[in-house]
């Protein structure tokens, strides 16, 4: 039997229910592990031991009273993009290094209400802009599978913490693959729900029409448990959808016989590592063996998704980040000469290079004379991409393919060329542009590094995706493997 720290939410939930352990014991164990080992990974920006133990005690008391739910007492880490009342919320930026949120994000509120225990706030790419977690003001995060490599981004701290067994689960956000790509790089299950499924209130905005909060867990079953508590209508978010939340855990074991799986031919382009392609074929064989029909489909405009994304996301981010002006919160430069100086130096020093590049890109594509050629054009190609997906879902129930073209790359390997870094997200960006749910699950290893298998559903088909992922995880044991150095 594995150690307490490497168990899944479902397993721990059972142990707590049976009285085999307590939330306080579990929380202490994990906090000690974080204290002892996180210096190697840098996965936390803030550890909140007092708050965690208080929440754990409250959870144990709740259990004693007999009103514990399945998540009560289970620890997790929140990506530092979610506002947490009374706790520093930095978004990985110097700009917010001194910022203590006066309110809780809806996601935080709901998971608190379910009784989950927050161990701390995880490291991330600055304002979620990055695919390697190298843009954080708090320094890069390392991949527990090979500390010379990146954990992926932007939810790099969240995946590193779960992969290193500092926590059984973490929240993440996914604007252009920021949950799925890092989950693929660290052998985890990462779910980005349908746009509108989970409230964005209290999640510091990067690109509002693409951002979506999701889960980082070891298994699909755990994702089902967590999503059930996070999802649902929130009247504080105009884009939140008022639609019933299914009991995702209840349908995990459904038979997949007759399910039609589409494999987009565009996923198998020249950028795809052939070993990753082989792993995808092996995963598809598992689905065939489960009775699924696997067919080829085409998403002819998929190759437009990265350039489309890199117009729309910067445009929205440039505007969203204007509120960081040194006036009401966050970093203000020393001794500003005048108002413009305060703006320019506070923002010039408070933001890192990648964030500034994206703000400038976004400013440019929205400016007079360029709006039509860039921004409006990208809104139209976005429509083409979304229409491709819609057409594919007329034929098939789910789409499947690789999450990333290659396994995790080395720190510093792609920092010099933004375009190569951006192209790493070629299979994930399109899902955000179309507002669809996407899931990455472990599908094997290449030279000791994990690779991820992506399942894409139609809008609000999370239950079916989790069902498919769970059945795969019943047939395989990739997801049970943990890195040698962090047993």
């Amino acid at each position: 039997m594995s150690e307490l720290h490497s168990k899944t939410l479902a397993e721990l939930s059972g142990l707590l229910a049976d009285g085999e352990t307590s939330s306080v014991e579990l929380t202490r164990t994990l906090l000690e592990r974080v204290g002892a080992r996180d210096a190697e990974l840098n996965s936390f920006i803030t550890v909140t031991p007092e708050r965690a133990l208080a929440q754990a005690e409250a959870a144990d008391a709740r259990r004693k009273r007999g009103d514990a739910g399945p998540l009560t007492g289970l620890p997790l880490v929140h990506k530092d993009i979610f506002c947490t009342r009374g706790v520093k919320t930095s978004c990985g930026s110097r700009m917010l290094d001194n910022f203590v949120a006066p309110y809780d994000a809806t996601v935080v509120q709901r998971l608190d209400a379910a009784g989950m225990v927050m161990l701390g706030k995880s490291n991330m790419d600055e304002f979620a802009m990055g695919s390697s977690n190298e843009t954080s003001w708090y320094g890069p995060v390392r991949n527990p599978w090979d500390t010379a490599r990146v954990p992926g981004g932007s939810s790099g701290g969240s995946v590193a913490a779960v992969a290193a067994s500092f926590a059984p689960a973490a929240t993440g956000t996914d604007t252009g693959g920021s949950i799925r790509q890092p989950a693929a790089f660290t052998n985890l299950t990462g779910l980005k729900p349908t746009y509108g499924r989970v409230s964005r209130y209290g999640m510091i905005a990067f690109a509002s029409s693409l951002d979506q909060a999701g889960t980082i867990t070891r298994t699909a079953e755990d994702a089902a448990m967590m999503l059930g508590a996070m999802a649902g209508f929130d009247d504080a978010d105009s884009t939140s959808v008022d639609r019933e939340v299914p009991v995702y855990r209840a349908t995990l074991n459904r038979d997949l016989k007759g399910l039609k799986v589409g494999v987009p031919v565009e996923f198998f382009d020249e950028g795809l590592d052939s070993k990753v392609a082989d792993a995808v074929q092996a995963a598809l064989d598992v689905y065939r063996s489960l009775g699924c029909e696997v067919v080829k489909v085409s998403l002819p405009n998929l190759m437009l998704s990265v350039p489309t994304y890199y117009v729309i996301a910067p445009a929205e981010c440039a505007s969203n980040l204007s509120r960081f002006d040194g006036a009401r919160f966050g970093y203000r430069c020393e001794n500003p000469r005048d108002l413009t100086d305060m703006y320019e130096r506070s923002r010039g020093d408070g933001f890192g290079d990648e964030v500034k590049r994206r703000i400038m890109t976004g400013t440019y594509v929205l400016s007079a004379g360029y709006y039509d050629a860039y921004y409006l054009k990208a809104q139209k190609t976005r429509h083409l991409i979304a229409a491709d997906f819609a057409k594919a879902f007329e034929e098939v129930d789910l789409l499947m393919g690789p999450t990333t073209p290659t396994p995790a790359f080395k720190l510093g390997e792609k920092t010099d060329d933004p375009i190569t870094m951006y192209l790493n997200d070629i299979y994930v960006n399109g899902v955000n542009l179309a507002g669809l749910p996407g899931l990455s699950i472990p599908m094997g290893f290449i030279d000791g590094l994990p690779v991820g298998f992506q399942i894409i559903g139609n809008h609000f088909q999370e239950a079916l995706m989790l069902n498919a992922a769970h059945r795969y995880q019943c047939e395989t044991d990739w997801h049970t493997r943990t890195p040698e150095g962090f047993k």
Partner: protein
């Protein structure tokens, strides 16, 4: 050289909702700094806007009242610029797809004719906060209480040809938003203000001249003065060989002149784009019909009805319907002034009442003489209890709080003498006391008749019925 002035107005009216347009913070005026700014108004990280349905309803009301098209789909956009009173670094407004488009408003010109002014569009947006430039440790203080207050910006066509027309349009719109109860119209507090786009061109010229925008005019008087100054300035400039530069200007009411807002006009590039946090506002016919059903009688319809129903002149009807409160007051007086003609009521409301209101700076809705009391007074003229002259005295007493008309008449003994015998006696004594005047009158000096009337009225302290006095005097002389 003949010059033509071309004016377009952009009116900003604060909508009188309880909460802000995108947040639940209260909109009340004059609270402690930043005590009515919640996290959304402050532009805190992570917060999101949710649209106030009442603001939408009010915008639709205005659109219907000016015969405009209500957009089945309108879109909120972000207008990006940095300024300390703009917490998010962008203002949420409507750009390409406003909620209201293509309306009209009729204004009455000095000669009594009507002119139709086009309303290009009206769109919803959020107000900014306030910068306080008094010295705070050498810095500027920012109060964001007003940030997020709903505004409707009403953009006219460049249809006005004089400052007077611009003021007439502004007044008409002011009256309309108050009729509709969508704006309190308080100009001092900035609830209703405008920017004027002013240009001049030579008579007969088709092409518009270069315009200047005079910003933030918050009184009817300032609008007129600012436009007149601006027109003079532009004409003088052109006539002396210069050219008008397109710019934003401010009106200085102390000096009575306009001056450029910034010495160095920065190239503005607002980078409008659809706000990703807000979805398109889709309004169907059922919604629009529902709002239409709540519209009150509008000023133009009311004016027409006053002419028709009460037999008033167009002028009187216009004055009495200028505000909904005045019109309501008038109609309530008509109802309670049993026997008095509507025309008489109109004269009294526009005369004595308006005079007293102006003199004391009181709004009609807080008049110390209620419509019922006023009606009671006019009823006493109608039934010959008092004369019009005495009624003025009674009105003043009522205004001063001495009670209703009957009480004042009773207390002061002002009831008109209609007893023929009593008047006969007085006339006899007047004739007896003035033999010389009687003789002159009888020898043809007709003008002396007035003297006798005056004497009789004097004796009766004005309480004799003037008609009766005339009749009896003629007989006896």
């Amino acid at each position: 050289m003949e010059w033509e002035t071309v004016i377009g107005l952009e009116i900003h009216a604060q909508l009188s909702t309880r909460s802000k347009i995108f947040s639940s913070a209260p909109t009340a005026y004059g609270a402690e700094p930043n005590s009515q700014a919640n996290l959304v108004d402050l532009g805190y990280p992570g917060v999101l806007p949710v649209l106030n349905g009442e603001a939408v309803r009010m915008a639709v009301k205005l659109g219907l009242a000016i015969g405009a098209t209500i957009a089945p789909r309108s879109v909120f956009a972000r207008k990006n610029y940095f300024y300390p009173d703009l917490p998010k670094g962008y203002q949420i407004s409507q750009f390409e797809l406003p909620i209201v488009a293509s309306g009209t408003l009729d204004i009455m010109l000095d000669d009594g004719s009507l002119k139709t002014v086009g309303v290009t569009r009206a769109h919803l947006e959020e107000d900014a906060g306030k910068s306080l430039h008094e010295d705070f440790q050498g810095m500027t203080g920012i109060d964001l209480n007003r940030a997020g207050t709903p505004l409707i910006e009403i953009v006219s066509e460049p249809d006005m040809r004089s400052a007077k027309e611009a003021v007439a349009y502004m007044k008409k719109m002011h009256s309309l938003v108050r009729y509709l109860e969508i704006c309190d119209g308080n100009m001092q507090e900035g609830s209703f203000r405008c920017d004027a786009n002013v240009s001049v061109r030579r008579a007969g010229e088709e092409k518009l001249g270069t315009r200047c925008e005079v910003k933030n005019l918050n009184s009817f008087r300032y609008i007129e003065r600012a436009i007149n100054y601006e027109v003079e300035r532009q004409i003088e400039l052109i006539e002396s060989g210069g050219t008008v530069v397109q710019q934003t200007r401010l009106f200085d009411p102390d000096k009575g002149e306009t001056r450029p807002l910034r010495s160095k006009e920065e190239a503005n590039d607002y980078r409008y784009f659809p706000d990703p946090d807000l979805l398109p506002v889709l309004l169907d016919d059922a919604y629009i019909d529902g709002v239409r059903a709540t519209l009150p009688e509008l000023p133009d319809a009311k004016r027409a009805r006053f002419v028709e129903e009460y037999g008033l002149s167009a002028y009187d009807a216009t004055v009495l319907t200028a505000t909904r409160e005045m019109a309501d007051y008038y109609e309530a007086v008509v109802k309670s002034a049993a026997g008095a003609e509507a025309k008489l009521v109109a004269n009294w409301v526009m005369g004595e009442l308006s005079g007293a209101l102006n003199r004391d700076g009181i709004e009609v809705e807080s008049s110390p003489v209620s419509a019922q009391m006023f009606g009671g007074l006019l009823a006493r003229i109608a039934d010959d209890t008092i004369s019009g002259k005495i009624a003025k005295e009674v009105f003043e007493a009522m205004w001063a709080g001495e009670g209703d008309a009957d009480a004042v008449i009773e207390k002061r003994g002002l009831r008109q003498i209609t007893d023929t015998g009593a008047i006969d006696e007085i006339i006899d004594s007047v004739i007896a006391a003035n033999p010389g005047q009687v003789e002159q009158y009888r020898s043809g000096k007709d003008k002396l008749f007035g003297f006798f009337v005056g004497q009789v009225m004097k004796e009766t302290q004005g309480k004799a019925n003037p008609g009766q006095v005339n009749e009896l005097l003629k007989k006896k002389l």
